[in-house]
Symmetry: C2
Subunit: 405 residues, 2 copies
């Protein structure tokens, strides 16, 4: 294993060489604001791309368009807006998503197919496309080699903090960089955490291997916070790689590729964690680890059931360990379990042994759940598989935030 | 169809002939109360029984014991306690559940196997079995032919209202009665609405047909409020039939049996509805109807996804129609859908047509969601199957109630 022979650096998506980013105000949001609402991420050199998209059957128009465009041999740019999801907008939505891509292509002298497109915001309202086209035409004036922060800010919706990270590492005598930005939903709810993330790298890597790498990284990061099958209409992760670091093109199964993958995982995990921690109405960050599952799928079912139970989440908010609710959740999760072999730990303190109350005093368990961060470990003892998810409590502030307007 | 040729009457589980019920105080709850916490329902004549039990893999000891006892040819009585679920209590839990049955059998001169047993309350704490045995021994002193209300009260936990119903109808020249009592969880959450219901009838019916009838009735009532696979460790519905009405034993496929089934469905649906409406922290009662599903399973998945989304439930609380969240939920539900054929109605007002915003003004939809009760109808237009579930909003009061102690 390569360990973590990489260093965090500043610069986000513009830390890798030959990337530019920026943002502009188009006035998409109904509210009176002058905050930029369109972001650009552009590779100044030819690049390949990869992506993962929502599995929701109701897919926003930009998701459908980007799924088509990402299959192209070369990708050069991403255009993304906040304030309007361009979802449930029918054929006009598809046309609008294409027009966003075309507008940036025209401004940068690219082909429409070389531009990927994302939207986030309100569902069911057509985009103000003319206004947006006029704004996107000005992209060349706002793109900059240190524009990552501007782009990261422009995709924020109810996020309270900018989410940005970059790392660098050596491949032989070449320095390779990976950068990323992301937005989360205000609330972190697996049902609909509309999540966008854009990752850039100057590594030389084939399109095929890049897609494999981003799929693996997403599986270990964003998919741990937004439960599969429970995704929003717009969830999208995109990666661009332009090879300007000058490394030998990466090959699967090599130490170099392992290092690249680890660094990419680190970038995605860091962004995923920032999304969870910035959830509106979140007061606790809870790691749910399941061990000893019959299969990875089983461990996952159990972990997700615990992490998504409204009852476990409410009691974490209240500082009540309530392991009975954890037992109940794993019981209905569909995972293979034997009640009498289940152990449960709160930050390493045993709460349940062989499916029954263990000797740890309740007051000690309460101390754990009083913390802002804690880990619940469930050992099913029926196999070797494990799975970990990251989640939050369910608070009155969450309900208030999501009551609507 | 027999229509509803039955009449609601008073008397609950003691409305049918030759049933007695009652309750007693054993002091099971930790809190200082003298409210009776053990309920009895007893047939004074030989009876057959049927039951449906939680599908949770973590099953409380009384569930395991009753699942065994209900297979016996004759059943005479039910003993149920509140305050302690006798779940996650290992082999001692099984022993305690059997001792509960044995104690009532001894008091009434029955066999242990003729007694069914239920518990509801705190998980993971052994029952105070000696105290309970002493109390159960006094059952003959508290059993009465109008004891239904006492029994219904003794199984209440955070319920605020007693849940009791009975109906009667004619089979030829015989009057047949069906009665029922129930308790819900305080909160109605599909994750863990610990639900008990006991139904009695003086109809003459075979054990086999009674089981079929109660399974069908539960599927159309309690299963519509507690989502399959998301059941608590203790959920149980039991039915006893003692044949004292003197009707010809019912046969499947006859008009008489249809009438019996309709009446039984009515009893179970009424109790299920009472459970939902009495949920702690509930402010709205929402019916989610899905039509036009490819299969019944699909319609069910879509309906349950909408009914269980924390985001849809939060916005109902806030009076926000937010059909985008409904679209999102059906999209990730796993049901076969085509976004462009989905129509959504709020109390009959069309909100979404062909997957896009319909012409109904938003203000009209808001008026619907401002009501205490409303129906969301989703027409998938991909088949003929339908499914309906009953649910509630998600409120700040719910979170406060479930924060723990």
């Amino acid at each position: 294993m390569s360990g973590d022979r990489f260093t965090e650096i500043s610069g986000g998506v513009t830390a890798p060489r030959s990337f530019a980013a920026g943002s502009i105000f188009a006035g998409i949001k109904a509210t009176n604001t002058s905050k930029p609402d369109i972001a650009f991420v552009v590779s100044e050199a030819p690049a390949v791309s990869g992506g993962t998209f929502t599995t929701n059957k109701v897919k926003a128009a930009p998701v459908r368009v980007s799924q088509a465009h990402v299959r192209g041999a070369e990708t050069r740019a991403i255009v993304a807006n906040s304030g309007n999801a361009n979802a449930c907008t029918g054929v006009i939505g598809i046309e609008h998503a294409k027009r966003m891509a075309k507008a940036l292509a025209r401004a940068l002298k690219l082909k429409e197919r070389q531009v990927l497109v994302c939207s986030t915001g309100r569902i069911g309202v057509p985009l103000p496309i003319e206004t947006m086209e006029a704004a996107i035409a000005k992209a060349p004036q706002v793109l900059s080699a240190d524009g990552s922060l501007a782009a990261a800010q422009a995709i924020m919706t109810s996020d309270t903090k900018v989410k940005e990270i970059a790392v660098e590492f050596q491949l032989g005598d070449k320095t390779v960089r990976i950068g990323g930005i992301a937005k989360g939903a205000g609330m972190i709810d697996p049902n609909m955490a509309t999540m966008l993330s854009f990752v850039t790298t100057d590594a030389a890597i084939s399109k095929k291997l890049l897609q494999q790498a981003i799929s693996d990284a997403v599986e270990q990061s964003f998919n741990r916070i937004t439960v599969d099958g429970d995704m929003s209409t717009n969830d999208t992760v995109l990666v661009l790689a332009n090879g300007t670091a000058g490394n030998e093109p990466l090959s699967d199964g090599t130490a170099d590729f392992d290092l690249f993958q680890n660094a990419l995982n680190h970038v995605c995990c860091a962004l995923a964690r920032m999304i969870v921690e910035d959830g509106e109405g979140v007061s606790k960050f809870v790691t749910v680890q399941v061990r000893g599952g019959k299969s990875r799928q089983d461990a996952r079912k159990a972990a997700e059931a615990v992490a998504n139970s409204t009852l476990t989440k409410c009691c974490w908010f209240g500082g009540d360990p309530n392991w009975g609710r954890v037992m109940d959740a794993i019981g209905y999760s569909g995972a293979k379990i034997r009640e009498e072999t289940v152990d449960i730990y709160y930050d390493g303190l045993i709460a349940v042994q062989n499916g029954m109350a263990a000797s740890t005093p309740f007051s000690k368990l309460k101390e754990v759940v009083a913390n802002k961060r804690f880990t619940i470990t469930v050992d099913l003892h029926v196999g070797e598989a494990d799975y970990t998810v990251f989640t939050t409590d369910l608070t009155t502030a969450y309900v208030e935030f999501n009551m609507g307007e």
